[in-house]
């Protein structure tokens, strides 16, 4: 492609709209414009220049702001669809019953919603592709426009052609008595207004806040870093998400955290002692939780210890894990997520003679780790033939357990005493009379008490992408603030030998503040009054269209 030679003799890259040197319009379209398009300072934008090869076409597609906006709107609408019904992770149903839950609770709509994958919308491939396309659009559009804009801003000339200046939104023309004095006064005032002033003969360029033009590009960089961080999570080692239930008094290995052990010393649930009133009473809420806390001790195996060796654990620290106060160690964090109160820990039974209630001794059964046989001395003993922690009825004559949590312990005991040396068999379940499958017994196991304890549930999380996300977020914020709270202001002034003045001004946003500066300098340097060409245009087409 050929370069464009401007009337001033400068050779511009193909596609340039306004001459890089003097600012003359170079395209027919630009020549027609009353006010020049200054978005990219008239520089050659790749996507607006080439459209031949397939790469050009892809590039042009993603660099288009129109496409970018369309992608934003599509993402926005899609994201909102995911909030019509609760997402799967928030549905209170077992993993396998979720599909049924949607149909049961929300009817045909729920079934459809789930079948279309909308109940897990944010992790579907098409939603992720959408976000990916948005990311590509951000990258391509930023490169497409950012680089030419940067070149053009860096190589600005002070002297511009009259046709450039007259195409700016703010223009002033007239005469002054003393050219040099006017230029000096304008320079003085603009410097006082914190503008950077450059002069070239009878021309002057005052500029302020150029860096504001880079704001959008900086925030796009931040967004890309953020999205890259999110994607890094998919790599192994960057992200750990485990869960752990641990009973009071237990020491357990922390899943996902090699070599670390944690002991649950105590779980504490506190409630507010406020007098319920108003809405709290209406909703039947008697107490409001105040604190969920687990006091723990964190241990680490010494280096080189065998995986199962728990004898030489080194204590790292004591900590109280509370909501909002996770335990942090070595890049990992343990969060208080859930709890179960009063889980059975130990049950005690007395072996008694059914007729006389004479006790022969007591057994204390650790429900998580029961012994096979308990010797009561004096020739009596109790054997546990079968133990079901969470008894759920019989299956083919065998007692069945629902879970391994001792919610409803049941035992098949074999009781041996000096008077019944062959032993008697009895099935004992809480709060039920014992079953005696092999005939009438002389002895029975009498419930003598139980001990309970609480169980705490932690989430163990490691997310090595957090620092990347944080950096991305900060760069984004910096870019947004620069782009929003500062603006790029420029004032061009040329004074001819006979005192003819041509002044033009540009601001990328916030014309209101620019006009304050212009008013100040106009008064101070006795410049001719300026006009706002867009305001005039609007007055002319008043009561124009009535459509959206």
């Amino acid at each position: 492609m050929e370069n464009i030679i401007c009337a001033c003799g400068h050779s511009n890259p193909y596609g340039t709209k306004l001459c890089e040197k003097c600012g003359r319009p170079l395209t027919e379209e630009e020549k027609q414009n009353k006010v020049a398009d200054m978005r990219y300072d008239g520089s050659a934008i790749r996507s607006k220049t080439y459209n031949k090869t397939i790469i050009d076409k892809i590039w042009n597609f993603f660099s288009s702001v129109k496409v970018g906006i369309a992608l934003i709107i599509i993402t926005l609408v899609t994201a909102s669809v995911g909030t019509i019904l609760p997402q799967e992770i928030y549905v209170n149903a077992p993993e396998t019953g979720k599909a049924a839950y949607y149909e049961q609770v929300y009817g045909w709509f729920g079934k459809l919603y789930n079948a279309l994958g909308l109940s897990n919308l944010y992790s579907t491939w098409w939603f992720q592709i959408l976000v990916g396309m948005l990311a590509v659009s951000i990258i391509v559009a930023s490169l497409d426009r950012g680089i030419p804009l940067h070149k053009s801003l860096k190589n600005q000339r002070i002297k511009r052609h009259a046709s450039f200046m007259k195409r700016q939104r703010i223009v002033a023309e007239g005469r002054v008595a003393d050219a040099e004095e006017t230029l000096n006064k304008v320079e003085e005032k603009m410097k006082a207004l914190h503008y950077n002033v450059r002069r070239d003969g009878n021309a002057l360029l005052a500029e302020r806040g150029r860096f504001a033009r880079y704001g959008p590009y900086i925030n796009h960089v931040g967004l890309i870093i953020f999205l890259a961080g999110v994607m890094l999570r998919l790599l192994p080692g960057f992200y750990v998400d485990e869960t752990l239930w641990i009973r009071e008094g237990e020491t357990r290995a922390i899943p996902g955290m090699e070599g670390y052990f944690i002991k649950n010393n105590d779980f504490i649930l506190e409630v507010h002692d406020n007098k319920p009133q108003g809405e709290q009473v209406k909703q039947g809420v008697n107490v409001v939780a105040k604190n969920f806390q687990t006091d723990v001790t964190l241990y680490k195996q010494p280096d080189g210890a065998l995986p199962g060796d728990l004898d030489n654990l080194e204590k790292i620290k004591d900590y109280s894990i509370r909501v909002n106060h996770p335990l942090k160690e070595n890049g990992f964090a343990l969060y208080q997520m859930n709890y179960r109160l009063n889980e059975l820990k130990e049950m005690r039974f007395e072996l008694v003679d059914k007729a006389t209630e004479t006790p022969l001794g007591e057994v204390a059964i650790d429900l998580t780790n029961p012994k096979k046989e308990y010797d009561l001395g004096n020739g009596s003993s109790v054997k546990i033939l079968v133990y079901t922690p969470d008894f759920d009825g019989f299956e083919n004559g065998e007692p069945r357990t629902k879970t391994s949590v001792p919610n409803n312990p049941a035992f098949l005991f074999k009781m041996t005493t000096p008077s019944t040396p062959e032993g008697e068999v009895s099935f004992v379940e809480i709060m039920k009379p014992p079953l005696e499958p092999l005939g009438e017994n002389q002895y029975r196991m009498k419930f003598a008490g139980a001990e309970t304890r609480d169980t705490a549930n932690f989430t163990i999380r490691k997310d090595r992408t957090i620092p990347i996300l944080f950096v991305g977020g900060m760069i984004f914020m910096l870019g947004v603030v620069i782009g929003s709270y500062w603006n790029h202001r420029r004032l061009w002034l040329q004074v001819g030998p006979n005192g003819q003045v041509l002044m033009a001004a540009f601001v990328n946003k916030n014309m209101f503040s620019m006009k304050k500066d212009l008013d100040a300098v106009t008064t101070f340097a006795h410049l001719p009054a300026y006009i706002d060409q867009l305001e005039q245009a609007e007055d002319n087409e008043k009561e124009g269209d009535h459509t959206l």
Partner: protein
């Protein structure tokens, strides 16, 4: 009088001050239209009364904070009241940059309606659940609310812009939708009227019902039930029985509230139309006929520019930091989170459209109104309808 009573009274003072300030703003504009004399005086009085109201509002906020021991932004009443306060603060800020009195004509009624709406929620102090006990409650919620309020001023400027430019003499889509916005404002008045009437009467009817998971529950209506919950049975009924029974998916109590508000709002709207004998927007139009359109457009754009970074920081950045501390993940696609993201995407689209497609003036004004609609949806609908982790804000 205890601190909490003082706090409540201060809020009432603020409410009255905003009403008075609104009259002054109206007066200042009438003056400037008629003779031009005394405009200054009226305008000054208006902004002074607004500032007095704001100071009272701020004192309510501070005293309630001292009394409860946490930033008063933890439930629907507290948050919405604070949102109203920040809207007034943003208005005062923008007023001192641009000095456009006509903005007050829309900003104050919006703030008044929001405070009125807030007052319909339970006002008693409720203790904080563990997940809310964090300094991030203060930082995240206040920054997010501040961002939303500044964005709201963009809609205020947009509305003034449209009130001026939309031709009221000929039927058009814009004329229709502008009046629809006015109607929505009247419906909020309807909600406040109907809620406070029944609450003054201490109305209460109690029912049992079967929820969507098949459990039996109890529901107390504070308005005569138009709609009954799924499988409802009266425990204690007053005045009327529900006209229609709703399926379990629909909260018939909330639907009842919505329909009562729409009903009373519509009656009010018809009455207003009968009295003024034209559209509400047509009635307001003469008041804004002297505003500078270019300036309003700029205010609308500038508010988005100022508000967008604040909103991003509060509703996304701080939100993510807190979520990581409290819930172990910075993002969980909870409805409130998603709607904060939607709001953010919408304003991002707004900024890009404005930049490159030249959507200025009317189009930009409509977009600003839609943006505020999304913010209100996130405040009202997401808290009250879409259940999620943020729904503690609904009681």
């Amino acid at each position: 009088m205890s601190l909490i009573d003082i706090s409540g009274n201060l809020l009432f003072v603020a409410f009255i001050a905003y009403l008075v300030a609104l009259l002054f703003f109206g007066g200042s504009i009438k003056q400037s239209n008629a003779t031009g004399k005394n405009t200054e005086k009226w305008g000054k009085a208006a902004i002074v009364v607004t500032i007095i109201g704001f100071l009272a509002h701020l004192s309510y906020f501070v005293t309630r904070w001292i009394y409860t021991g946490h930033a008063p932004v933890s439930n629907m009443f507290e948050f919405t009241t604070a949102f109203g306060m920040f809207i007034i603060a943003s208005f005062i800020l923008i007023y001192f940059i641009y000095r456009v009195s006509a903005l007050g004509l829309v900003a104050l009624p919006v703030a008044i309606l929001i405070i009125g709406y807030a007052a319909m929620f339970p006002r008693e102090v409720s203790p904080l659940v563990p997940s809310l006990q964090s300094y991030w409650l203060t930082i995240h919620v206040i920054t997010a609310a501040l961002g939303q309020s500044i964005l709201a001023i963009s809609a205020v400027a947009g509305l003034v812009y449209l009130l001026k430019v939309v031709d009221m003499t000929k039927p058009s889509k814009q004329r229709f939708w502008l009046e629809a916005v006015m109607f929505c404002l009247v419906v909020v008045v309807g909600f406040v009227a109907v809620s406070s009437t029944f609450s003054a009467m201490d109305y209460e009817s109690k029912y049992t019902y079967v929820d969507k998971e098949g459990k039996s529950r109890e529901m107390i209506y504070n308005m005569p039930p138009l709609f009954g919950m799924n499988g409802y049975e009266a425990v204690e009924e007053h005045g009327m029985s529900p006209l229609v029974e709703m399926p379990a998916l629909i909260n018939a109590k909330k639907l009842t509230t919505v329909v009562w508000s729409l009903l009373v709002g519509s009656i009010l709207y018809v009455l207003i139309r009968l009295i003024i004998r034209r559209r509400i927007s047509a009635m307001i139009q003469p008041l804004v006929k002297r505003v500078n359109l270019q300036l309003l457009d700029e205010i609308s754009y500038r508010s988005v520019l100022i508000g967008f970074p604040v909103f991003t920081l509060g509703a996304l950045v701080f939100a993510m930091i807190w979520a990581q501390e409290a819930w172990s993940r910075f993002w969980g696609w909870d409805p409130k989170e998603v709607w904060a993201l939607i709001t953010w995407l919408f304003y991002a689209a707004f900024l890009h459209l404005r930049l490159s497609k030249g959507w200025e003036g009317r189009k930009s004004a409509w977009l600003a109104l839609i943006g505020f609609g999304i913010i209100l949806f996130n405040l009202v609908a997401v808290n009250l309808i879409l259940a999620g982790l943020h729904s503690y804000a609904s009681n």
